[in-house]
């Protein structure tokens, strides 16, 4: 199922397959997979080291913070849409925090995510492809017959994977 959720996140699923993956996301293991993959994504994009227990600690510290009574902004009446939008953002953030704190990745999960991220990072770097395969393929490709030079352009291309001898 992990693979299906991963593919769903990559936008590779449609129709029945996607529906099945969404059903899986309603279960706690599915949600955990989902969170795990997002941690992987964060690591891949180097958007910061996931710190175990971060959201729980943050929630606790936030609760201890004194409430700051900010002065009423003078411009408030002139900015109804902005405030409406802000309210929505706040609501989304609350929902977001609840979701994140229940999904707080455990150290083992983070370790697993790092490992998976390393694998995915290695995979996202295109693997080297021997020109043998391309040359063996092109003799059978119908369009290459009319292009005449098409396949050789690929071979002669210095910028492509096949730039190597």
């Amino acid at each position: 199922m992990g693979e299906q959720i991963s593919r769903l996140m990559d936008g590779e699923l449609d129709g029945a397959e996607a529906d099945a993956a969404f059903r899986e996301l309603k279960k706690s293991e599915g949600v955990a997979e989902w969170a795990c993959f997002h941690v992987i994504g964060d690591v891949l994009r180097a958007s910061g080291e996931p710190s175990p227990g971060f959201s729980l600690r943050f929630a606790a510290r936030l609760a201890e913070e004194p409430t700051v009574l900010a002065p009423r902004p003078r411009e408030s009446r002139r900015l109804p849409f902005v405030w409406a939008a802000a309210a929505t953002v706040a609501a989304v953030m609350v929902v977001g925090w609840v979701a994140v704190s229940t999904l707080d990745p455990q150290p083992a999960v983070v370790a697993k995510a790092r490992e998976a991220a390393a694998v995915r990072a290695a995979q996202s770097k295109s693997p080297p492809v021997s020109p043998d395969y391309l040359l063996a393929h092109q003799e059978f490709s119908p369009t290459m017959q009319i292009q005449g030079v098409g396949p050789y352009l690929r071979s002669a291309s210095a910028g492509g994977t096949d730039g190597r001898p």
Binding site: L135, Q145, Q147, A156, G160, G163
Partner: protein, 328 residues
């Protein structure tokens, strides 16, 4: 009144539709994909039989490269020289059934046997049917390219399994002077075009000779093994072949380092997908997806076998092929 309005509205829509259809008809005349057979065959023959020399611009994934091409047909024997004009020098020489690629910066010559298969003249009725079932062929615009009067043809795919193809052929000789592969968002995946070309010119043999001796001293010679596929049952099957693709080749072949590889080829009549399966033991190999111009390549490891799938189709199709490889 209400009824009248409804009629009027309906008529307006119908007229608008007719106008749109009329415009579309002017821009592109739908024809049966079977009709592509003759001109595809003519283009394939022209590419082999004519003498031509020109400059080609090759575009792929944001790269633009220019090459010089000379093609000579000397009493039925073909000679070809392709030299890239940008970046590290590469020279491809085709003559006497082999292809030599010179890489002067690396001091390497690769030598490949080259078997010619005449695909389009022998389009089977089954393949022709597949063509019209999975592509919509349109006769597109007539226009000038590289100083030649050309006619464009478009193969629009009917599903997301394949790319679209647009071909511009020289009206006088049938030679393909521009070709484009585009994806489902109409974005160019790969394109080549002559910017200038002289067809039917007298070409001196000197012009198709390599710049270097056949085996330059101090260079590494990489000779490919016997090139042909020995047809046989490989023991491998594909459980979910995308619609329209039929198996045209199955057998074993030897690649350069003499390893024996199972090679299966599937074609929809216009493009092909190659599936290679080879035993690699327990060794781990780099896997994943890569792209080279219009070709997508996907490598996966299946127990002790390495599966390499490539072809001029979208990555999702390549993956479907790769993920459906199984033991018979």
């Amino acid at each position: 009144m209400v009824r009248g309005d409804g009629l009027g509205h309906g008529l307006g829509v119908a007229l608008a539709r007719a106008a749109v259809l009329g415009l579309t008809a002017l821009a592109a005349v739908p024809v049966l994909a079977e009709d592509a057979g003759p001109w595809l065959a003519r283009a394939a023959a022209a590419a082999r039989q004519l003498n031509y020399v020109g400059t080609i611009v090759y575009q792929h994934g944001g790269h633009v490269e220019t090459s010089r091409l000379v093609h000579l047909n000397d009493a039925g024997e073909e000679f070809e020289k392709l030299v890239n004009l940008d970046g590290p020098a590469r020279e491809v020489i085709r003559s006497r059934g082999e292809v030599r690629c010179y890489y002067p910066d690396a001091r390497v010559v690769r030598i490949e046997p080259r078997t010619f298969r005449n695909a389009f003249p022998s389009l089977s009725p089954q393949q022709q049917k597949a063509l019209s079932e999975f592509y919509e062929l349109r006769k597109a615009e007539a226009g000038r390219i590289a100083g030649l009067d050309t006619q464009a043809w478009v193969f629009e795919p009917k599903d997301g399994t394949r790319y679209g193809h647009k071909f511009w052929v020289d009206v006088a000789t049938g030679l393909l002077v521009k070709a484009r592969i585009f994806d489902d968002r109409d974005e160019v995946v790969e394109q080549f075009a002559f910017t200038d070309v002289a067809i039917g010119a007298r070409i001196d043999r000197e012009l198709v000779k390599p710049t270097w001796p056949p085996a330059p001293p101090g260079w590494q010679i990489r000779q490919a093994g016997p090139g042909d596929v020995e047809m046989s049952d490989t023991g491998w099957v594909l459980t979910r072949v995308p619609p329209g693709f039929v198996k045209i080749v199955e057998g074993f072949r030897r690649l350069r380092d003499a390893r024996e590889v199972a090679h299966l080829v599937y074609s929809d009549g216009l493009v092909a997908v190659s599936v290679f399966v080879e035993p690699v033991g327990g060794a781990r190999h780099p896997i994943g997806l890569s792209t080279q111009g219009g070709i997508n390549i996907y490598i996966r490891q299946m127990d002790e076998n390495l599966v390499t799938v490539l072809g001029e189709v979208p990555a999702v199709t390549i993956r479907q092929f790769a993920n459906s490889v199984a033991r018979r």
